[in-house]
Amino acid sequence: MSAHDHADHDHTHGGAAHGTLRGYLIGFVLSVILTAIPFWMVMTGALDNKQATATIIMAFAVVQIVVHMVFFLHMNPASEGGWSMLALIFTVILVVIVLSGSLWVMYHLNANMMPGLHEMRQMP
């Protein structure tokens, strides 16, 4: 049917290409693995070092976000003539600034406002 062909043409034109069954399944399996490992690590306390565990599960989260972007959202540098990617990069930069900036500033604010540390030392 011509209408159907036409619709199909429009999709490819839009750039938000659809995935394939294989793509979705790969994404799903990877997501399950990337979700299960952090949960397992925290629930069983596989690592004694909390700092290391936190770093590792954050890394898993970042990888899983990328997996979702690629296999589920079908992000690629060419979609929408590159504008999707540009908007994404811009957003990621903002998110990084907001998150790291807030945490950094507020952590130091907390540390410096802690009563009894600086004031006491500076007292005559």
């Binding site: 979700t35 949960f39 599960i57 989260a61 979702h68 929408e80 998110v95 807030s102 507020m106």
Partner: protein, 208 residues
């Protein structure tokens, strides 16, 4: 101006490299993507607030007293399964199979509802134990962040229901395909936000 390009089958139509025919809804995907990016910024603010306030328990309950990681794992599974079933809905939509698309959408909606039910159960349980949003800064930021995500899922389900009615009425017409693709992006985006939630809020909370 380039309206002839759509119907033209016999005579050749020429475009410049960048200048495609701008069909109706041609820019919807990019526009919706930009909306998602702005939504992402809202969540970034809420994550930042939780990151700053997440340790202020005001002598109240801490994550270890409240969170049940088993429940969160089930919840995560629900959302992940709903993501892949929505993917199947999109694949069957591509093949133009209305019944299968509707079926996968219904399955997706059920997983979404399961997710919401578990989350609401968790919230009710916490509030029952006195861990209300007013209790501490940690709980205020927790309920705001996780609640906002839950609200998004709720609206996603409402949207899905609406589109199922639309598809039942008008079939997989071009406009409906476009709407389903927008919802697809929205739904997968929510799953991405949830990755941040279960890592940053639940798992990291248990490590504190």
């Amino acid at each position: 101006m380039a309206s002839t390009a759509i119907t033209a089958g016999s005579e050749p139509v020429f475009h410049l490299e960048e200048e495609h025919a701008h069909a109706e809804g041609g820019s919807t995907m990019l526009g919706f993507w930009l909306y998602l990016m702005s939504d992402c910024l809202i969540f970034a603010m809420l994550f930042a607030a939780f990151g700053v306030l997440g340790g202020n328990y005001a002598a109240g309950p801490a994550p270890k007293d409240l969170f049940d990681l088993g429940l969160v794992a089930v919840n995560t599974t629900m959302l992940l399964l709903s993501s892949i079933t929505y993917g199947f809905a999109m694949l069957t939509m591509d093949k133009g199979r209305v019944g299968a698309t509707q079926g996968w959408l219904a399955v997706t909606m059920l997983f979404g509802l399961a997710f919401l039910s578990i989350e609401l159960y968790e919230f009710a349980h916490m509030i029952h134990e006195g861990a209300t949003p007013q209790r501490s800064a940690f709980l205020s930021s927790f309920f705001t962040l996780v609640g906002t995500h839950g609200l998004h899922v709720t609206f996603g389900i409402v949207w899905m229901l609406t589109l199922m009615v639309q598809v039942a009425r008008y079939g997989l017409i071009k406009a409906n395909r476009r709407r389903l693709m927008c919802l697809s992006m929205f739904w997968h985006f929510l799953d991405i936000v949830w990755i941040g939630v279960f890592t940053f809020v639940y798992l990291m909370g248990m490590l504190r």
